[in-house]
Amino acid sequence: MDKKNKWKAWLYLAPVLILMAVFTFYPIISTFIASFLKDYNNVTGENSGFTFYNYQYVLGLAERYEGSGVFFKEFFSLNPAEHSAFWNTMFITFVTVPISVVLSLAIAILIHSIKPLKKIFQTVFFMPYVTNVIAVGMVFSLLFSQFGVWNRIFGLSTAWLADNSATWGGVMFVLCLYIIWSALPYKILIFLSGFEGIDRQYYEAAKIDGAGRFKTTMKVTIPLISPQILYITVTSFIGAFKEYSSVVGLINRSYSSDQNVQDLYTVVYWIYDQMSKGDWNTTSQFADAAAMILLFVILIFTLIELWVSKKKVVYR
């Protein structure tokens, strides 16, 4: 390469680098710093120095006003009865991830095993991926309205959503169903493309060995796509931890009749909700702390993925 190319390369990179510097790199640094500043004002930049208070406050370990005795439980509390953003998110994560991974794996295996209609099933099961989360969320809320289709089919009269008698459990049930519904297509697609990468030899060998269909699946197919399973599980955990739009689509702000009360926070919902509040300029550091906690959780999951994939997963 001649020398001329060296500065030319930076010219090619310039648009992306400038945009990333302002809208990606700077936010990471500024969020990190602001999450450790006390009484930070994001317009003037004024603050009263380094502190862990923002984290303590968000995690419910410190009072908002000294001596008030009131601890903040909206974001983090391990008491299920308090329905904190963190607890709701954990609940969603540990219900939807295992179910959707197992179900999508089963569907993918079955789609892979058939010949006629294979393309059609592939397409149908991918459809929920190319939709609008908000719009379909509204459809689900209609399906689960008090006199809606779901209650009619099962002969129920439960008020699932948007009613004063709606319960946390009922809303969670519908929300988890909706999240699983929308989480299936991506996973099925990844599993199917994983199956396509498996060498036919393995199947022929298993056939000669006299292994039945079930045994072949358990002993050949699943071990061979374990990288995809691991990848899907980790990204699902991260995705479920960032659940937000589905809640808005389904219930907007509230599952009671009063749409001005927010009563089903998730971690990300809580963070976004702070932005629309009047005192954002002086309280953004709490959202910053919450976002850093989110980043930390994602980092841990990613590291687990890297660590496990080195140790346990069968690579071809």
């Binding site: 648009p15 809208f23 989360v133 908000i134 960032k242």
Partner: protein, 328 residues
């Protein structure tokens, strides 16, 4: 490949097995076994298709219901009818669709959404092509370190970026109560242009193009710039189409960022307006009730264009998503 096949065959038929088989393999037994296996296979297939069909129905049902509910009267939608009364369907369609268009001022929001989606897609393609070319073909100090750094940023949640970008945009004066239409567009488009994932996707594609082509064009005296636009870009057109479609779909669906950063409802994109726009009427008792068929009509108008795109570009969307590292 063939060799491996032979070795496994040999290993898998031990002598003990052969003798056992000889005893059982009378012709009668063989026929029975074959018949049993056939029945087993058919039962299995029926089960497989039934399972898949059942879940396919569950997957499709919300789409079906969204469309038919937009053909219903309020009464029918409220009572959870599975299909509308046929005699009044056309009347309902005219009523629901005209009211939804009018109430939400739908076309102006579609206009805004299209401007944002098309502009974001074009700018994203341009910047991605340039950056991917630099990473794939040009040599400069720190290239690999910078590329790994780009990849790491994919892990950072968009929520974290949104907080700081909101503050940045507000402090620059783009987000305020007296926001102009131009400012609203600027805020919705610019922060989302640079995408490390698309750069990664295209760079992998550029890398596969043989170096000989590059050297040949150098011999011809062509510049890097001409080579990029006359050779690289056309050769990578499937990936470019994939990026364009995925980028367009995600801006068509964007909800979070516009909802926060655009202060005037009349400048909002459709995802926001279908959730926050007013689709209520006053009933005889004077209560405001949400018109369910109108809500479903709004959903149809948002989702159907996407489904059409999906049908046309199915191959590109599925291949692009299959290669993706991160969803959304």
């Amino acid at each position: 490949m063939k060799q491996a096949y032979i070795t496994t065959t040999l290993r898998l038929v031990p002598p003990s097995c052969k003798t056992k088989k000889k005893k059982e393999n009378t012709s009668e037994n063989l026929a029975m076994i074959e018949k049993n296996q056939k029945i087993k296979k058919i039962v299995g297939l029926v089960f497989v298709y039934a399972f898949l069909a059942f879940f396919a129905l569950i997957v499709l049902f919300p789409f079906y219901y969204m469309i038919v509910a937009s053909f219903m009267t309020q009464q029918e939608a409220y009572q959870g009818a599975l299909f509308p009364e046929l005699s009044s369907v056309f009347e309902n369609i005219a009523y629901n669709y005209s009211n939804t268009f009018e109430r939400l001022d739908f076309m102006s929001h579609v206009g805004t959404t299209l401007i944002v989606a098309v502009a974001t897609t074009i700018l994203q393609l341009l910047t991605t092509i340039l950056a991917a070319y630099a990473f794939a073909r040009l040599e400069f100090r720190g290239r690999d370190v910078l590329f790994i750094f780009f990849l790491t940023t994919m892990m950072v949640p968009g929520e974290l970026l949104a907080i700081a970008n909101y503050t940045t945009m507000a402090n620059l004066g783009f987000i305020n109560k007296s926001q102009t239409y131009g400012e609203a567009l600027f805020v919705m488009i610019v922060p989302l242009i640079a995408s490390s994932f698309y750069i990664y996707l295209l760079r992998q594609n550029f890398k596969q193009i043989p170096n000989e082509l590059y050297l040949a064009s150098k011999v011809d005296g062509k510049s890097d710039w001409t080579f990029l636009w006359k050779v690289m870009a056309p050769l990578s057109s499937p990936t470019l189409i994939t990026i364009a479609i995925l980028s367009f779909i995600s801006s068509w669906n964007s909800y979070v960022w516009p909802n926060r950063s655009v202060t005037k409802p009349e400048f909002q994109v459709i995802s926001v307006i279908i959730r926050t726009g007013s689709l209520t009427v006053q009933d005889e008792m004077g209560n405001w009730v949400t018109m369910l068929p109108w809500q479903m009509t709004a959903s149809v108008l948002t989702v159907v264009p996407l489904l059409l795109l999906f049908i046309i570009f199915r191959k590109y969307i599925m291949s692009g998503t299959g290669r993706s590292g991160i969803k959304g």
